[in-house]
Symmetry: C2
Subunit: 491 residues, 2 copies
Amino acid sequence: MSSFDKLTHHFQSISNLQHAYSMLSWDNASVMPSGGAEARSNAIAELSTLIHQKMTSPALEELFSEVEANDTINSASVREMKRQWSQATVLPEDLVRAKSIAGTKCEHAWRTQRGDNDWAGFEKNWAEVVKLSQEEAQIRAQAKNTSPYDAMLDLYEPGTTSESLELVFNDVKSWLPLLIDQVIEKQAFELVTLPQGHYPREKQKALGLDVMKLLQFDFEHGRLDESVHPFCGGVPSDVRITTRYDESEFIQSLMGIVHETGHARYEQGLPKSLAGLPAGEARSMGIHESQSLFFEMQIGRSNPFIAHLARLAEQHFGSSNSQQFSQDNFQKLYTRVKKDFIRVDADELTYPAHVILRYEIERDLINGKIKYTDVPELWNQKMQQYMGLSTEGNFKNGCMQDIHWTDGAFGYFPSYTLGAMYAAQFMAAMRKNIDVDSVIVSGDLTPIFSWLSDNIWSKGSLLTTDELVKQATGETLNPAHFKDHLRNRYL
Amino acid sequence: MSSFDKLTHHFQSISNLQHAYSMLSWDNASVMPSGGAEARSNAIAELSTLIHQKMTSPALEELFSEVEANDTINSASVREMKRQWSQATVLPEDLVRAKSIAGTKCEHAWRTQRGDNDWAGFEKNWAEVVKLSQEEAQIRAQAKNTSPYDAMLDLYEPGTTSESLELVFNDVKSWLPLLIDQVIEKQAFELVTLPQGHYPREKQKALGLDVMKLLQFDFEHGRLDESVHPFCGGVPSDVRITTRYDESEFIQSLMGIVHETGHARYEQGLPKSLAGLPAGEARSMGIHESQSLFFEMQIGRSNPFIAHLARLAEQHFGSSNSQQFSQDNFQKLYTRVKKDFIRVDADELTYPAHVILRYEIERDLINGKIKYTDVPELWNQKMQQYMGLSTEGNFKNGCMQDIHWTDGAFGYFPSYTLGAMYAAQFMAAMRKNIDVDSVIVSGDLTPIFSWLSDNIWSKGSLLTTDELVKQATGETLNPAHFKDHLRNRYL
Ligand SMILES: [Zn+2]
Ligand SMILES: [Zn+2]
């Protein structure tokens, strides 16, 4: 067996264990009875350890030194294997374990501390998470010769740096606050009605499945289930998406399904010839989010798609009040802008402000420019500056609102807004060749998905993010498309 | 760490992988979309290999030679670890792999060959399965100094031999055929009506869940789902049972749920202090089946329990025909005896004949006394002798009907009838201290389950089967209880 074949075989065997890990995680979140938790967490920990052992196997170093890749696909394959391997091997085992323990402890306590607005309690656990994350970032930075924060960013967005991020984020900051104010003023006297009624789970599920069919979710290779926090899990040949139903309100869950379907179709569309190999995986968190946001924001909130949603909702729920189920009302519901505290509830327009605020704080924290004790006050200042809202003493709706920092996932937040910008740029490029609105009106969205499949999904991680975006759109990330999209939709 | 602690740690880590294996198997059978099959079978194969590697790890031999167990629990723990280890290590890897490949191939082809009554086609694949199973049996026999068949039997029924089996099976053969004829004659003019109607899945499920509640299934530690072939899977802290609904008929599926609930409560009741260790597992296949059959035959088909079933079924399905839902009709339905070809559809009375026939054939086959080509004719002879039915040329309803032999699970069949006999013996012992019928009538079956928990479930594999049965009932296996039970119920 050649070194290349040995590497391939080794990574496929890791992928088999990751399959088990993903499925147990899905089961955990969606169907497992509570009493199964302890045995499950032991099984998941066992798999984690085995995956880490295989990923850091001493045999790999030699294989990487010997391997010769004889074409572009194989060399991309080796590049991506090497990336995963070096990310895993660079950290000492002790640090990995210590961070995992501190993160689990902090996250677990946070689940109640947040509700209690208990910053003092949270801070005690979080100090350790921040310290260990800074250590991690420094070790990774040394290996990659970057700043500590950039080394963390690279875990989620290979190739993206603070410098490149700030170019686009500063652009957004230059026009977003004014745009938000203009739109809020414009919407001030609009009449919007949230459909009121009882919407049984089973009926909401049937509606969700119809929308997934419209979006050509492949039910031979995936399922829709329920969990407290919606997610997209499983493996490319068997993608498990989840949602949560509120029987008094279906609007939010419905768009959540559209979002997760975007993630799912990316996974379902990854190159089958590279199944089980790093080069066959999704390119980055930002590109992943670009697909969910393409579905949610570019397709899902477009007028012609909202017409489908309104029609299907009326079919499933009948309507005592046809005004509530009108396209016009749905469109206003799905494009309502409001300055508010909570990122996960934010609309398309204010979302980037939430992300940029977090980016600026976590960057300085990981680079050691600020201390963890500075975070609440910085949060308050930036919320006032970007949104005109004070979070003085309001930790719960301020810096304690997200799960990400509780277990040290620093560097993740930028992916959300990168995704939104990539999605807008992909749509702009697509519109050059496809009459997108007519395609959506027709109800057969195949041309849209073929474009995404050809340009994004089927590429896996064969290209770098910059190459991928440039081949698909003719240019690297350009925030002008995002600005144009928002102005067109909201002004 | 002591050698004992090292062994414990090692087997717990195997158990974590078995957890993943069990859950992926459950997922496979109950919720996985068809397109997930290929990746799933790779993941399951990977876990199998890892489990086998860990079970045959060279480090174990030394640990076993060093270990000192300082009390009865620990020495039982070591005995059971050793049992699993020696069963896994005695076979050469090549044989394990060859048998697995031949078995998978034969079973897969059988799925269509059976329907086609294609013995000639089946025989071609089966020859290899039989040959490799004979090789396996010979290697195991040499290691244990037994006959080849007894070595296979020991995999499912540790401690049981052909000699001990024949003592009880010959006893059964001496009275069963006459009893069957007497009962059939007695039932000849009974009027029985299978409830006719449309019984929607959701309603059948709700009924099944009510019956599981009556049987005190612990829903904090388990679930009910659907699969083509009902089974009990998962892990003791999270037991997954399945059933299959036929919307035109609920009688069979309902009793299937009772059966699987028996398996499940055994698993749920295993000793938590030994979780993840061989000594904490179920004692044997026969004892496992004794619990499902205790639930299905001893409790489930008793008059007072059938009264509950009839009442609950009427609650869930209303009734246009109250005669169909009467206790009397349900009781006749659930105790109807018929000589027929198919084991899985057999009633309580004829079932042992199906098992004894298979036992006699597989014993001689594995011991090399007959050839695989002799099986159809032997089957035909024994069916005529025990049941008065000819299977001449009828392979589909004869020797090709079961899955067990297709992948070489020789030695398994006796467990079914051992289970039925143990169940009757447990009930006879229980009746000495508990007024079982009154307890069932009351609807609170706690005293019954406490007896099973104290005497069977909580013992795991701490005792040998003989010790377990003797401690619970005052004697080792005695088929007289089974005979008394059948005569009482059916004559
Ligand atoms: Zn997303
Ligand atoms: Zn059973």
